[in-house]
């Protein structure tokens, strides 16, 4: 225990803590621009400076360890003017078109400028002119807005282990870019959007489809339907000032109808369907000498990661399409037939916590007869924007339920939104498929929580399986290397691209800290605890779908609609 003094008050700190950590615990909000909680400090921006008695200059609190006897001041005029000067300098070559900017009103740089009372332009540098990179289906890069904080580079490297982008050139020519400054679309970027979540400005954002959706909603002759992913109902509320972890499933459904969608479907339904298909695939592989371990395939960032970095493992990927794509395929086949609508007139929109889903829906194999399974993907953030544009406030609406014929979901399907959820759902149903009976207790605590890597040995009848759950591709790469090096005790592996799963997806509301993400996760688990239907194989509408349309899991129709294949991909990496 260290005894230090903060603004004249005695405070205790732990050995090894940074000054910033101590101050945060004390409720003192120190502005930061380059700091990423959980990663090593980089000390690049100097926004976080404080005064330490006896030190020759101001100290960056994010990277400086607290020491016994330290006397810290956080708000002296010197500190405030140093911080102000940093912001003023950052603004000196900045476009400053907040009014037209995607982050206007929700921008760290703008917030800091306001917070430091910057009311006029102090330094006038030459405004940066750089071209936008709109080549990616998921992410837009606008280097003019970049303040070179480096957070995107670190997340891409240290969390995702992709390193699609880095600092290029040096000095005042420095930019963030890909190898050879090529478009993000030909780089190794896996479209996860984790960089967007950390970017303090509008230099990184999702490729927006809000206007496209608005247009089709009022286009004559178009039948516009929407699906929403399991993680959206527990995060969208934050955009409307609810506290993190609030579930507004029913209100959100009502809001979607108000906006003008003809049908509202819950992607958790096809998550249940995924479990039937993927569970059967696993049992078939495990009992029939198929390729193992089998990897889940619902996370499109992960799929691209395998295609480009581990093509030798493509046969290990489940052939199941993701729940989004399964729903899309069913909407334009089963649903269209049932409702007697020409699939050409259906516009299929999905609301996803994910930027990579935009990439996924555009994959050439994700459609039939020149109809894409899914036409537009909106992230949770874009969905909030859509609601604001159309003036729909979910908070005042009465909850409604999703539409038939996909109107039922189990809480197992809902748990797809969090790391471990697919595995937990799969284990529950695989147990049933193998033994014919139900698990004595459904909850599998070992698979829950924010840890990047979780493991479990599952016993069902005579079969025993090694199961692993990883989230964040850094954790995934570690496991892949173990398997490459000969590790053979695993048979089924769930991979989610984003740390913690879709609840922390790259399309989710900005500025969520780890506590907010945990709250979203806890809510999904609470929903499971309270649910009357907790296993996918008992979903009556899924059963009906098999009876009326699909036949059996892995049957002919399933193969045609719900399964796919992946190919080695050459990228600039």
């Amino acid at each position: 225990m260290l005894n230090i003094e903060v603004n004249g008050k005695a405070v205790q700190a732990n050995q090894g803590e940074t000054i910033l950590q101590v101050l945060t615990r004390q409720g003192i909000k120190v502005p930061t621009l380059c700091h990423l909680p959980g990663l090593a400090p980089s000390g690049a921006c100097r926004m976080c400076v404080v005064e330490v008695e006896g030190a020759p200059s101001l100290i960056p609190s994010c990277s400086y360890p607290a020491a016994d006897g330290m006397k810290i001041k956080t708000n002296t005029p010197q500190i405030l003017s140093a911080r102000k000067a940093i912001v003023e300098l950052l603004l000196s070559n900045h476009p400053q078109d907040c009014l037209y900017c995607i982050r206007g009103g929700d921008c760290d740089l703008q917030r800091l400028a306001k917070q430091h009372g910057i009311r006029n332009r102090v330094f006038s540098g030459e405004r940066v002119r750089r071209e936008k990179d709109t080549s990616s289906p998921s992410i837009v890069r606008d280097p003019e807005k970049c303040i070179l904080c480096g957070k995107c580079v670190r997340v891409c490297e240290e969390v995702q282990n992709v390193s699609a982008i880095d600092f290029i050139h040096r000095g005042n020519k420095t930019v963030i870019g890909t190898a050879y400054n090529q478009g993000l679309n030909v780089s190794s970027c896996i479209n996860c959007g984790q960089c967007v979540l950390v970017c303090p400005t509008a230099a990184l954002s999702e490729k927006s489809h809000v206007n496209d959706v608005l247009k089709v909603l009022s286009a004559p002759g178009k039948y516009v339907v929407v699906q929403h992913a399991p993680a959206v109902s527990v995060s969208i509320a934050e955009e409307f000032n609810y506290k993190p972890g609030t579930d507004i499933d029913g209100k959100m459904t009502a809001a979607l109808r108000k906006v003008g969608f003809k049908k509202v479907f819950d992607t958790s339904f096809t998550a249940d369907l995924t479990i039937m298909e993927e569970g059967s695939e696993l049992v078939k592989r495990a009992t029939g000498g198929g390729v193992l371990p089998m990897f889940t395939s619902c996370s499109p960032g992960w799929i691209k990661f395998v295609e480009q970095f581990y093509p030798e493992f493509i046969p290990n990927l489940s052939t199941c399409k993701s729940p989004q794509q399964m729903m899309g395929a069913l909407i334009k086949s089963f649903f269209a037939e049932r409702e007697k609508i020409d699939p050409a007139n259906i516009v299929s929109v999905s609301i996803m916590p994910c930027t990579a889903k935009k990439f996924e829906c555009g994959r050439p194999e994700m459609g039939r007869n020149s109809h894409s399974d899914v036409d537009y993907v909106l992230t949770t953030r874009e969905f909030a924007e859509l609601l604001r544009i159309t003036g729909v406030d979910p908070s005042v609406l009465e909850p409604e339920t999703p539409d038939t014929p996909f109107g039922e979901r189990s809480s197992a399907g809902k748990m797809f939104g969090a790391s471990g959820g697919v595995m937990e759902a799969a284990v529950r149903s695989a147990y049933f498929l193998i033994t014919g009976g139900e698990m004595p207790k459904y909850t599998i605590q070992e698979l829950r929580g924010m840890k990047g890597s979780k493991e479990l040995r599952v016993k069902a009848g005579k079969i025993e399986l090694g199961a692993a759950v990883v989230s964040g591709l850094g954790a995934a790469r570690k496991l892949m290397e173990e398997i490459k090096a000969g590790r053979s005790d695993l048979q089924f592996i769930e991979v989610m691209t984003c740390p913690g799963g879709c609840i922390n997806g790259g399309g989710q509301p900005l500025r969520a800290d780890i506590e907010a993400v945990k709250a979203r996760m806890n809510t999904l688990h609470q929903i499971d605890k309270d649910a009357p239907l907790r296993v996918s194989h008992k979903n009556t509408q899924v059963k009906r779908l098999y009876e009326e349309f699909l036949g059996a899991p892995l049957g002919h129709k399933s193969h045609e609609l719900l399964h796919t294949h992946y190919n080695k991909r050459d990228v600039l990496a």
Binding site: R170, G177, Y180, A573
Partner: protein
């Protein structure tokens, strides 16, 4: 020998190299090919198990690396102190204007390229430029312009 095998050969010469060899490897490649191609960046990246973005980032940090093939006529303009004092900036601007490219670039027809160097060790002759390794001393804007126009003319014939 095709360009590909040149890079392969250089990499083979650094069989178990780690990331600390990145600069010498890039230098050898530039020496052999005149520039660092995208293909070379990818190959070095595979060889050192480093992301291509990182290789490119490191390479662009240093002035010594070029990323475009040199032109048939490669003009190096000295921007060292002595040449600067003697007006090498206007010499550079003039060449850039004549060729409509910037230092580091190559004209689209592949004929001309410009490079800025820091000192050629001929300060007594400042300002100096070199054309395909041949030194031209005490260049004036006039002289430079003529030189470039002559070459252009020669190529159109």
């Amino acid at each position: 020998m095709s360009t590909q095998t040149k890079v392969d050969k250089i990499l083979a010469g650094h069989a178990f190299a780690k990331r600390d060899k990145i600069i010498p490897i890039l230098q050898e490649i530039q020496e052999a090919e005149g520039y660092i191609s995208q293909n070379a960046v990818v190959k070095v990246s595979r060889h050192l198990s480093m992301p291509a973005s990182k290789i490119y980032g490191v390479a662009t940090f240093y002035n010594q690396f070029r990323f475009k093939a040199r032109g048939k006529y490669h003009i190096m303009v000295c921007r060292g102190t002595a040449c600067h004092v003697k007006g090498s900036l206007s010499a550079l601007r003039l060449v850039e204007d004549c060729l409509k490219i910037k230092a580091g670039d190559t004209t689209r027809d592949g004929l001309f390229s410009i490079e800025v160097v820091v000192c050629m060790g001929a300060c007594g002759l400042a300002p100096v430029i070199s054309l395909n390794g041949e030194c031209h001393a005490k260049v004036t804007p006039e002289k430079l312009k003529n030189l470039v126009e002559e070459l252009k003319l020669k190529e159109t014939k």
